[in-house]
């Protein structure tokens, strides 16, 4: 049986596009939502800590400690997002491998 390489490639191309759409669309949405949530947390925290400092409920050293924590949260959140992106890339690679196997074996 002759193998129609062009048909296989076309089928794979369509499959890869669908896979990319399904895997990364959610990730962009998730990263944007996380970023917005983080920004809102930072704003609220800063406003509250400033008020607590002014009212004498926290010390200046505690206020500064909290600011350090805010910076850490941004760094750790970025590391988490980078890691979750790699997870999606691995899932995408697995998806492509399965797609190729199914497409080629289906046509032979």
């Amino acid at each position: 049986m002759a193998i129609d390489i062009k048909a296989i490639l076309k089928q794979l191309e369509d499959g890869v596009v669908d896979l990319a759409k399904s895997k990364f669309k959610g990730l962009t949405k998730q990263a944007t939502a996380d970023g917005k949530k983080l920004l809102s947390t930072i704003k609220e925290d800063l406003a509250r800590w400033t008020r607590l400092l002014a009212e004498g409920l926290i010390t200046k050293a505690e206020f500064e400690t909290l600011l350090v924590g805010q910076k850490d949260l941004i760094e750790m959140s970025a590391l988490k997002q980078a890691g979750l992106t790699l997870v999606k890339i691995d899932e995408f690679k697995d998806g492509i491998f399965n797609l190729i196997t199914d497409t080629v074996t289906g046509l032979i």
């Binding site: 926290i58 050293a61 505690e62 400690t65 909290l66 590391l79 190729i100």
Partner: protein, 150 residues
């Protein structure tokens, strides 16, 4: 003769394509470590221990809490070393490094505690929440990793 060989190659092209793609993709190792139940348990347990330690700071002096602090420092180092020892786990290890390094939240909190003797109750609550949020970043990255299928 040449025609026969050509037909043979054409007939086997599907197999060759599969073989080529199989080799190519099998050689692609994962970009990040798989989920690890022990690492997840370590992180969730550390979150509770760290928050409890911070909650001690308004009632117990830094000097009196030395043993508790040392215990948690050891646990943190163990979690960092375990994370560092796992293949393709740099991002999680970097997260632990933030917790362990000077001039970051945990060590700055200890310095403040040492300096003041005790923390204010409101300050301790706020720091406890923040440390909890930091630990959540470690926990969420671990739980988001792919489960290894055997």
């Amino acid at each position: 003769m040449i025609m026969n060989q050509f037909l043979k190659i054409k007939r086997n092209s599907g197999f060759l394509l599969l073989l080529f793609l199989g080799i190519t993709f099998n050689n692609c190792s994962p970009s990040i470590a798989f989920y690890d139940q022990y690492a997840f348990t370590q992180a969730t347990s550390l979150k509770v221990d760290l928050q409890n330690l911070v909650q001690e700071s308004p009632t117990v002096s830094f000097v009196e809490a030395k043993a508790d602090i040392e215990k948690i420092n050891v646990e943190l180092k163990k979690a960092y070393e375990y994370s560092k020892g796992r293949s393709k786990n740099t991002l999680s290890t970097d997260q632990y490094l933030i917790l362990l390094s000077d001039n970051h939240l945990y060590k700055t909190f200890l310095k403040t505690w040492n300096l003041q003797g005790k923390l204010s109750p409101v300050g301790a609550d706020e720091i406890s929440n923040k440390i909890g949020q930091l630990m959540d970043q470690i926990i969420q990255l671990e739980s988001g990793k792919r489960k290894q299928t055997h």
